[in-house]
Assembly symmetry: C3
Homo-oligomer: 475 residues x 3
C-alpha cells in the first residue's frame, strides 16, 4: 500500500512547544497576505496567452533546473527529462520523465526541492500518496486531470495564489509585446501587476564572442547609433526608459564577480572602441565590463530602476552538458565572493544616492556577516536580497536571517524574492519564507529580544512593506 | 498609550524549558561577578575628571558608531546625531538627535544595538516605555534627570557596574597623564584598575602620508633619535616600557591584513631608510609594516605585553563620509581574512615563546573553525578573542562558541572583550556574554557533553580566570 | 571524593523532549549496525600481529595528534607524551604522560577529544571516575589491567566493535605483506574485511626534495623503468593494480590545493623530464603535480578505485616542531579552499564518468553550501565526505549536514569516515555519527520535512547503503 503524503500545518515552525506557539501566532497574521514577487523567471507568454501547462512533466520537471540537476547527479540523462526536446516529448516520454522523478523521490529527502514539490503535490494538485515507482502513473493522472480544469490556467492560478505583483526577466531588446498584452487586459491587470525586468548582462560583457552583434541589436532596438560609447550609453538609457514605460521597476545583473570601476571618460571610450573592433585584451574587456556595470548604477540614480545583483557563479561549468543541452540547464557552480573592495568605486560614487536601490545577493554565506550586513548597515542604497538559488532552503535561510539581522536590522532586507521559473512553486516558496520569518521572529520573542506585538508587525512588514519600499512599488 | 519596555530575566537563555533551567543555574553563578574589561575605548579623561556625561544624546548616540551607522543607513545625517559638532549641539539639537533614534527604534529590531540599549534604558535609567516619536521627549527627560544625580558620574558607575579592571586604548606618544591622575586616587584605584593600552598602528604603517611626522613624534616622546631603524626600535621599546610602567598589560593592533615577516636586519634597515626618505614603494612599505608588526611580537616576548590583534577591516570605505566627518564614524567594512600563511613567520619565530600571548580577533567567521581554532589548539601563544565589532551579537557569538570550542577548548578563549567606547553599555555587554556562556554550556549539559558542575566551574573561569591568565592580570 | 564519569544514553540527542523522542527511535535502529570504515589510519600491523596495545599512554595519547596538539597548546611538551620516544618510555614515563592528560582534563571541556575519550574510558574500559591529577593512577591501572585481558587484542576488539570493513592507508611501494597476513586468516577475514588504501601523494609532488628517489622506488616496486612519464604512468597503474589485487577500494589524496590540470602529452612529458633532472621551476612543479593528480582520476575511471580527496592543509606549520618531532605530530593548520575553478579540468574530463567516484572533504566550512553541495548536485562522480579532522565534532558535523543536504540530498553524502589511527575511538566516532544522524533527521521530522518512517530508512542508508554504494564495497 502506498504511504500517504501529507502537509502538516506546523511545518518549519520550531519544535519547542512554547516557541512553536509564538510562531503559529505570527504566521497566522501573514499566511493569507498577497504575494509580491519582485524578481523571477516566469515567461510572460504563459500569462499573456494564459497557456495550458501541457502535462505534469513539462510543468514540474523539464524547465526546473533544481530538479534536473539532482536527478542528473543521480544518473538520469537530462534528455530523459525532456530538456532540449520540447514538443518531441510524447505522452509516454512525459510519463517516463515523471516516473524517473518518483523513483528518485528518496534522493530528494531533506532537500528544498522535495519540500516545494510536496507543497505543490498536496496543496495544489490534491495528491495524497508518496511518489514512488508504483504510484507515479496515478500521480501523473491526478495532476494531468487538474491541468485540464479551467482553474489551472496561469491567470486563474494568479488569483488562487494571490500573486499581486510579478516581475519577469527580459532581454533589453525585447519588445515587451507579451507585457503589453497582459497590461491590455485591464480587468486582470487591476488585480495583478505583471512587469518586465531589464537584464542587460550580455550587453555588458565585451569578452563574449557575440558581444558585437548584441550591441548592434541593442542599437537597433533603441534606434541609436552605437558606434561610440556615447551612443551605446544612449541606447542603454533608451531601452531602460522603454522598460520603465512598460512597468519595469528594476534591472537585474549577474556577472562572475562584483567588480566595479569608473574609468575616465576617454579611457572608457577608447576601450569601447577597441572592444568593438575585437582588439580588447582580456584585462581590457574586464575593465570595460566593470565600467559598464557601474554605469548602470549611474543611470539607476537618474531613472530610479532598482538594481538586483546576483554575482559570482561559474556558468556552464560542465562543458559537455553545455554543448549537448545549452546554457542554464543546471551545470552552474557558485564562486567565492568579495564585495567590500569590489563595490568600493560604485559605492563611493553612488552609495548614498537617494535614487539608487541596490539589492545584493550572494551564494557565499561567509559574506553574510562579513560584508553584506556591514555594507547594508552603512550605505543607504544597499539592501540585502534574501537567499537565492543554492541557498534558498530552510536551514540556509535561517542562517541568512541570523547572520545579517543582528547588524543590519530587518529594514535593510528585502522580502521574499523567489527567482523561479517554476510557476506552481511560487506559493510554496513564499509560504516557506513566511514560516521561516515566523520561526526566526518567534525565537527572538522566546529569548526576549523582541516583544510579540513587535514581531507580528515586523512579520507583516517583511512580506509587504519592505517589498514596496525597497522595490519602489508605490510609485 | 505607549507600549511598555521591559527586561525579562531569562533573556537570551534557551527556549527549551529543560535547557533553560540548566542555563539559569549556570548564569546565577556568574551574573554578580566583577567585570574585567581588558580591551576597550573608554576615554580615560572621563574617569580621571569624573565628568558629567552631558546629555542623553551625547552619552548614548553621538559617540556610538554602531548606532550612527544604522541610523545613517536609514537616512539620518550623522550631523543630526551630533557627529563632528561637539559643543555646538544645543539642547534642542540633542533632543532632536534622541528623537531620531526613537523614531527609528523599529529599524533596530533584532539588532544587538537594540538589545544593549534596552538593557541600559530599563536597567540603568529606569525607562519603562518603548522608544517612539511620541515617547522620545519623556525618555530624554528621564535619562537627563538621572545624569544629574551624583551616582551617575563615571566613578560611581564603575562601582555600580562592578568594573574591576578597565583598559583604555592610547597613542604611544600619549603622556598618560589621565591615567596617572586616576592612579593617584588610591582609594578609587584600590577598587578599580584602569590601565592604558599601547596602540602603535599608525607608527607601523610606512605607507601613511603622515608616517614620517608620527615617527618623529615617537622619537620625541621617547627621547631617542629615530634616524635609523635601530633608533626607531629603541623608541618603540622605550614607549612600551613607559606604558607598562603606567599599568599597561597589552598592545593592540589593527592592520588591513595579518601578514607577518622578519626581514634580514640590513634589509629592514634599508627599507626603513627608504621609507623615512619617502622613497619606499608600496610593496616595500607593506613589507616594512609586516616586519615592524612582527617586531612588536619580539618585543612582547621580552616585556610581556599581551598583543591583541584586530585585523582585516577596510577603514573609511565611504570617502565622502571620511571627508565630511573624519575617521571612525562608521564607514568601515570588514575584509576576508587569511591567517594560516600570514602568521607563519611570526609563529615560527615566537609562536610557543612563554613570554608571548597573542589574542586574535576576526570579522570573517569562516576563519573560526578553519584557522583560528586549529592555531589556538597548537601554538601556546595563540588565544582567541571573542567576537568583535560587527559580530559581537548573540547569534554571532553562539556561532563563535560552537565554531571554536570543539577543537580549541575553553582554555584558549578570552573572556568578554567589549571593545567599546559606550560606557553605559559595558554592563549590558558583559551580562549578554554571561547569558550566552550559560546558554552554550547548558546545551552541552543538556546533550550530556559536560556535567552541570563542570559547566558551572567553566562559566566562572570564562569570566575571571581566563581573563586573568590570558591578559596576565595577576602580575 | 572523585566525581563520577558517566555516559548518558541520550548524549548528543536534541534537548527538546518531542524531538528527542523521535531521535531515540531513529538511533535505536542504527546503533547496533556494523561499522564500515572506508578510510582511516590504523596500522595494519596491529591487526596482522594482533599486538598487545602496550599501555594506556601508548594506546590513548602518544599516537593521537588531536590530543597531543591540545596538550601542547596548554604547555605540555610532546616528548612528555612519548612522541618520538617509542620504546624508551618507561612505565613511569607512561604514567606521567597519562597523568598530564588527566591534569588537563578541563582543558578538554567542550571538545570532541573529550567526548571520544569519555566514551572509551567508560564504555570500553569501565572507568567510573572523572580524570584528574588524583585519579590518574587509578584510571591508568584500570586501563592497563584491561589491556592485558585476551579480549583487548585488536582482533577480538574488531569483533566487539562490530567493525566489518576497515581500510588502512598505505604507501604505493608497500608490499602489503601485513594485509596478506590478515587475509590469510580466513576465519577472521570472513567476518572482517581489512584492506589497504593507495596513498600516492608524495609521488605526485615534484617539488619535494626527495621526489626523484621516491619515483625511483616506485619504479622499483612496480618493476617498470620510470625514466619517462610513460614509464612513471605505467608504474603508477601497476601499483594501483597491485593494491586493488590486495583488496584496495580507494586511493587517498591530500595536496595543498585542489588544482587540476590536463597538460598536452608532450608538455607533460617535458615537465616530467625537467623535474626528474631537478630543473623544474616552482610553477612547473605545481603544474606537473596538478597534471599527475588529475591523471589519477583518469586511471580511476579505468580501474575503478574510489578517490578520496583531503585538500588544503598547511602541513608542519611549526618548523621547530617538525625539526624536533618529525611530520604529522599536530602542527598542521587548514587553508581556505577553492573547488569550483580548481576542479574544472578534472570534472570536465571525467566528472560524469561511470567509473569515477570522487569523495571530497574540506576543512573550510564556507565551501559546504557554496561549492561542495552544488558540485555533488550536478556531477555524478562527486560525493561529499563527512567532516574530517578539525571539524569532525558534533557542532561542526551538524553544520555540515545542514549545509549540504538541502541542495545535495543524502544520497550524495558518504557515511561516517573516521580517518583515525586511534583504534579504540572508532566505535565512539561511529556512534557519535549515528547519534547526530538521528538528531538531524529527528529535526526534519519534528518540523515536518520528512516522515518518521522515511527518516528511519534514511538513517540506515547513511550507515550502510551509502558506504557500500559510494565506496563500491559490493564488488
Amino acid at each position: 500500500m502506498a504511504s500517504p503524503l501529507t502537509l502538516n500545518d506546523d511545518r518549519l515552525l520550531p519544535p519547542d512547544p512554547g516557541t512553536r506557539g509564538i510562531a503559529r501566532r505570527i504566521y497566522a497574521t501573514t499566511r493569507e497576505l498577497p504575494i509580491i514577487s519582485p524578481h523571477g523567471h516566469v515567461p510572460p507568454r504563459w500569462i499573456a496567452l494564459d497557456e495550458h501547462f501541457g502535462n505534469p512533466a513539462r510543468l514540474l520537471i523539464t524547465p526546473d533546473h533544481y530538479i534536473n540537476r539532482v536527478l542528473h547527479a543521480n544518473g538520469v540523462e537530462l534528455s530523459e527529462l525532456g530538456v532540449g526536446r520540447g514538443e518531441e516529448m510524447t505522452e509516454a516520454d512525459n510519463r517516463r520523465a515523471f516516473r524517473l522523478l518518483c523513483e528518485h523521490w528518496t534522493d530528494l529527502n531533506g532537500t528544498a526541492m522535495r519540500y516545494w514539490l510536496t507543497d505543490q503535490l498536496v496543496g495544489i494538485f490534491g495528491v495524497r500518496v508518496r511518489p514512488a515507482a508504483e504510484t507515479a502513473d496515478a500521480i501523473y493522472d491526478t495532476i494531468a486531470a487538474r491541468l485540464d480544469e479551467p482553474g489551472f490556467r496561469p491567470r486563474r492560478l494568479m488569483d488562487a495564489f494571490r500573486i499581486r505583483f510579478l516581475a519577469t526577466t527580459d532581454d533589453p531588446c525585447d519588445d515587451l509585446g507579451m507585457h503589453a498584452e497582459i497590461a491590455a487586459d485591464e480587468e486582470f491587470s487591476a488585480r495583478h501587476r505583471v512587469v518586465p525586468t531589464f537584464r542587460p548582462d550580455r550587453y555588458l560583457e565585451p569578452a563574449r564572442p557575440d558581444w558585437n552583434e548584441l550591441v548592434d541589436a541593442l542599437g537597433g532596438a533603441a534606434g541609436v547609433d552605437v558606434g561610440t560609447l556615447d551612443g551605446y550609453t544612449r541606447a542603454m538609457a533608451e531601452r531602460r526608459r522603454y522598460f520603465k514605460e512598460h512597468g519595469a521597476v528594476s534591472s537585474d545583473h549577474s556577472h562572475a564577480d562584483l567588480g566595479t570601476l569608473i574609468l575616465p571618460a576617454d579611457e572608457a571610450a577608447r576601450l569601447y572602441d577597441r572592444a568593438r573592433r575585437g582588439l580588447a585584451t582580456a584585462d581590457e574587456a574586464l575593465a570595460l565590463r566593470r565600467h559598464l556595470f557601474t554605469d548602470q548604477a549611474r543611470m539607476a540614480c537618474e531613472d530610479g530602476l532598482v538594481m538586483t545583483v546576483h554575482p559570482a557563479v561559474a556558468r556552464n561549468h560542465d562543458a559537455d552538458a553545455l554543448a549537448r543541452y545549452g546554457a542554464d540547464v543546471g551545470g552552474d557552480i557558485p564562486l567565492a565572493l568579495e564585495a567590500t573592495r569590489a563595490l568600493g568605486p560604485l559605492l563611493n560614487a553612488y552609495g548614498n544616492h537617494p535614487g539608487l536601490h541596490l539589492v545584493l545577493f550572494t551564494l557565499d554565506e561567509d559574506v553574510y556577516s562579513r560584508e553584506f550586513a556591514p555594507l547594508a548597515a552603512w550605505y543607504r542604497s544597499v539592501h540585502l536580497g534574501v537567499p537565492w538559488w543554492f541557498v534558498d532552503a530552510p536551514e540556509s535561510i535561517m542562517r541568512f536571517k541570523r547572520g545579517v539581522t543582528e547588524m543590519a536590522g530587518f529594514s535593510r532586507i528585502s522580502g521574499m524574492v523567489d527567482d523561479t521559473r517554476a510557476f506552481c512553486s511560487i506559493p510554496a516558496r513564499h509560504d516557506m519564507s513566511r514560516r521561516l520569518d515566523a520561526a526566526h521572529l518567534a525565537d527572538l520573542v522566546a529569548t526576549h529580544r523582541l516583544d510579540e506585538d513587535e514581531a507580528i508587525e515586523q512579520a507583516g512588514a517583511l512580506v509587504v512593506d519592505n517589498q514596496v519600499r525597497i522595490f519602489k512599488l508605490d510609485r
